[in-house]
Amino acid sequence: MSGSITYLEAIREAQYDALRNDPAVFLYGQDINTFGGAFKATKNLGKEFPGRVFDSPISEDAMVGLAIGAAIEGARPIVEMQFADFSSIGFNQIVNQAATLYWRTETHCPVTIRLPSGGTAGSGPFHSQSMEAIYAHYPGLVIVTPATVEDAYWMLLDSVALNDPVIYCEHKFLYYHLKSESTGERSLPIGKARIARPGRHATVVTYSAMVHDAIRAAEELQLDGYQIEVVDLRSVKPMDTDTILGSVARTGRLLAVGEAFPWGGVTAEVISRVASEGFHLLDAPPMRLNAKDTPIPYHPNLWKAHRPTVSSIAGALRSLLRY
């Protein structure tokens, strides 16, 4: 285990470095000080940075409001939502106050809001949601969805450094399961997608934890002689249309995969961009794969059938490749 770092530790590490590098940074959230957060993403940070890590009341609206006011005064707050799902209570402050501030008043709003996102078995409808599409709908927000330990670290630092409000969607499933040797070197900036796996027969565009499922599905299809390209969006807004189109230009076939609900959303946006800007690149109808259009189920049996999986991604790819 020595020398290895998990996705969660990378998030903690990034916050540690942000606090150390910039006195304007502070952390605000529920149970994050002494307790270290529900997932321990701020473990020991309160001790190491006294007076910079604050337990907030259970008031998501006011937590975000406070961060916005502080940002106006030059601070660079990081707000931890205990679960992405609860950010709905702070929704108004995020989309109406933070997102509009620069446009309305030319005042910077460097707020980073961390959303522990996505599903894990047994978490049910209110501890499993993926909120990126809802926030991406609003102008004035940057929405990042790191899928790797390296991105978890660097994109959080980049988010804090941005002068705009950032919704940082960290996937709970990756917290403990995803490990890397180190946080690596800074690679791509926010706004650039990454070719997570090169290929030439079909493109899977996805983000966050689904990147790993897509790669495993691609490995499964390699058995059949197919080279599947996997594009990790990294940030869903801005969306790197050029990289997506470049990949589809190579493969002619597109599958967009997202863990979120099917209506609208990131996969719909990917397909709409490719259909309108890259119609001539498509040799097969673009496909999408999302969770089912129901709330997220509690029981693991139901949950596993609710969301895209390695085998459903592989199945979708087979349909796409057979076209």
């Binding site: 529900a38 997932f39 078995a121 002619g252 693991p300 390695v310 085998s311 459903s312 199945g315 057979r322």
Partner: protein, 411 residues
């Protein structure tokens, strides 16, 4: 020993999924090559999924009475190294169902609010792929290049190709359609051949014929005796060519019933505004079709100078360009090449083309003299858009033309 997935096979064209009716083996049992493993049912038939070689069923994923997309994993199958080599499963990674869980619970750091269990690993067996996988619209009967994807269309436009250029390309896509890969392979194949540039005239004719060929065309034919016409021609001054007799005869016949020369557009017959008739003139590497206006209103002899002038202009490639009023039918005298019978294709904007075969002396039984007499006979043909009229109407028109040609003095 390697483990391979047993997949739902493609059980016929346009079949996207099939239902498991029965599972014929138990998990853990060893089977011979080609043993039936599953009984599956499509909307067309009931079939078996069989073992690709001898091996052991290590896990059954499929559930009876459940529908699976083609390509879905139904079972895990353990086989020998040798069989794996033969089946092409060489250095490829293991399928997901055989994946090992690599993270242990001990690795999970303290998490007091919320436990994430290691059993959540996404690669646990997935019984169903529907309905999160939407069905793709597999084009029914899209064999070959009859269905063209946006990418194919863009590529063809780039290369200036038409669907008919791809007629000989075998398709490997859904329903046998030609995929971009098939297309590119076809293009690579062409590079092996000697290629010369087609003339602009060839390309123009090709375009016209391609458009013309989008309709269901049919041809009727009939013999006629040319003696009356030839006799008339001998006396006439100036002398009309055989094609001009046919042009005039066709014009008079059409004037009696313009509907046959109409075009079917949607659910309406579009009648011609005037009896303008074209005629084919062979030029180098192609054909021109000059048009004589209102042929029904001008007597035959008066048409001769117009006809001759147009032939001259066509050969010099100096035809007056009048695209606003193309002819309503065309006459082609393929008899000049010694051809007796042909099925010429009507121009894309026309419904009819009248063909004239070469004449020859044949014995003809005369009831008057009760013996065979020599006559000059030729076949005339009429090709038509079968959507606009049927063989009967076309035949009646042809008979009427033949009749008129028997009385050249009335032309």
């Amino acid at each position: 020993m390697p483990t391979i997935p047993i997949l739902m096979p493609q059980l016929g064209e346009s079949i996207a999924e099939a239902t498991i009716v029965r599972i014929l083996v138990d998990s853990g049992c060893s089977v011979e090559a080609a043993s039936d493993l599953f009984e599956v049912e499509t909307n067309k038939a009931t079939m078996s999924v069989t073992a690709p070689c001898a091996g052991k069923v290590t896990q059954i994923v499929a559930v009876p009475q459940t529908s699976y997309a083609v390509g879905s994993t139904l079972a895990a199958f353990e086989i020998s190294e040798e069989d794996a080599q033969n089946l092409g499963f060489t250095d490829a990674p293991q399928p997901s169902i055989a994946q090992q869980h690599t993270t242990s619970m001990a690795d999970i750091v303290e998490n007091l609010h919320f436990q994430i269990s290691d059993d959540d690993v996404i690669s646990s067996p997935q019984p169903k792929v529907e309905p999160v996988v939407g069905g793709l619209p597999v084009p029914a009967g899209a064999t070959g290049a009859s269905y063209i994807s946006p990418r194919m269309r863009a590529r063809m436009l780039e290369l200036g190709l038409n669907a008919s250029d791809l007629a000989g390309v075998p398709g490997t896509g859904a329903g046998g359609r030609v995929t971009v890969e098939d297309f590119e392979a076809f293009l690579r194949g062409l590079e092996q051949h000697r290629m010369t540039k087609a003339s602009p005239m060839r390309i123009a004719v090709a375009d016209s014929m391609r458009r013309a060929w989008t309709r269901p065309l049919a041809t009727v034919g009939s013999p006629i005796m040319l003696d009356a016409m030839l006799a008339h021609r001998k006396k006439a001054n100036p002398k009309p060519g055989p094609a001009l007799y046919a042009i005039r005869a066709l014009a008079l016949a059409l004037a009696e019933n313009t509907a046959v020369a109409g075009r079917l557009i949607g659910n309406r017959i579009v009648h011609p505004r005037a009896i303008d008739i074209g005629f084919a003139v062979e030029v180098e590497d192609g054909v021109f079709v000059p048009v004589i206006r209102e042929v029904d209103k001008i007597p035959l002899v008066k048409l001769v100078p117009t006809y001759n002038k147009l032939v001259e202009q066509a050969r010099a490639r100096r035809l007056p360009h009048d695209m606003n009023r193309p002819g309503i039918a065309t006459v082609t005298n393929f008899g000049t090449f010694g051809i007796v019978w042909a099925t010429p294709i009507p121009l894309p904007e026309q419904n009819l083309i009248l063909g004239l075969g070469a004449g020859s002396k044949v014995p003809h039984w005369s009831e008057e003299v009760k013996q065979f007499i020599p006559v000059t006979e030729a076949e005339i043909t009429l090709s038509f858009d079968h959507r606009v009229c049927d063989g009967g109407a076309a035949g009646r028109l042809l008979k009427r033309v033949a009749e008129l040609l028997q009385r050249p003095e009335d032309l």
